[in-house]
């Protein structure tokens, strides 16, 4: 029973990168939607997107959790262990690369807007700006 509990904790801890993903996702979503400062919104958005990239990287690691789950795949992409092929799927990495570029572009557009909004209104507070609409 105790062993079961310990193994459970280990199992849960073994998914640390997924926990990271969930926490970052929540923080980022909260920041993007609830922060009043526009700049903080952009920061939140970036965290949110990063969380998703983390998820992509995590799922790229195929077949890790059959054993203990604490090891993560590293380059080289293929290698042979005792009786299984372990590898890291390269496709999600490619996707993340593209995703980063897209996220950077979004961030750039967002920051450009923030600069112009600040020049126009002299504030970045959402509540104050809402009255302008």
């Amino acid at each position: 029973m105790l062993l079961h509990g310990v193994m459970g904790v280990v199992d849960i801890l073994g998914y640390y990168n997924y926990w990271g993903f969930v926490i970052l996702l929540a923080i980022g979503l909260y920041g993007a939607l609830a922060c009043e400062n526009l700049f903080k919104k952009m920061v939140g958005l970036s965290i949110f997107q990063t969380a998703i990239f983390l998820l992509f990287i995590s799922i790229a690691d195929v077949g890790t959790f059959e054993t203990l789950g604490l090891k993560s795949g590293t380059a080289p992409i293929f290698w042979e262990e005792i009786h299984e092929y372990r590898y890291v799927n390269p496709v999600p990495h490619v996707l993340v690369l593209t995703g980063i570029v897209v996220a950077a572009a979004t961030l750039a557009v967002g920051l450009a807007l923030i600069i112009r909004i600040y020049r126009e209104y002299g504030t970045l507070n959402e509540e104050e700006l809402r009255w302008e609409l």
């Binding site: 570029v101 600069i115 112009r116 020049r119």
Partner: protein, 141 residues
């Protein structure tokens, strides 16, 4: 700028650019157009900060669009050059078949050309972004 900065910059700039150009053609090595472009842009920005020289906006514009033109243009060219036998972005099927006979090698060569194009666009974008945000204090961004 202080002497330290100018000296260091003078020392480091060639290396940055060399590294940038190396990274730029990343088909068979580390890097790629985006990374190379960013490194080159940062070297240019360093130069601009240190020596306080600006750049003609028109050049950046031309570089930006021309770089992207290379990217999409070559892709389209593959289609037309092969008389609609090869797909968009199918580099191995491009021209130069007389110079580089092996299709895979040809693909790699063209991919490098594309990387250069992307690098140009990224370089120009980052530099112009820098000048937009920093150099021009008043205008409308």
């Amino acid at each position: 700028m202080s002497v330290v900065v100018t000296t260091v910059a003078r020392f480091i700039l060639p290396f940055m650019q060399l590294f940038g150009f190396y990274v730029l053609t990343g088909t068979e090595g580390p890097g790629g157009g985006f990374q190379g472009g960013v490194i080159l842009a940062s070297s240019f920005i360093l130069y601009a900060i240190t020596f306080g020289e600006g750049v003609d906006e028109r050049w950046l514009k031309a570089l930006k669009s021309f770089g992207l033109w290379i990217y999409a243009g070559v892709g389209t060219l593959t289609v037309f050059y092969s008389l609609f036998r090869a797909e968009f972005l199918n580099y191995s099927a491009t021209f130069l078949s007389l110079i580089v006979p092996h299709p895979v090698a040809r693909g790699i060569l063209i991919a490098d050309v594309i990387e250069v194009g992307i690098g140009m666009a990224v370089f120009a974008s980052f530099v112009s972004m820098f000048f937009d945000v920093v150099a021009r204090g008043d205008g409308s961004g």
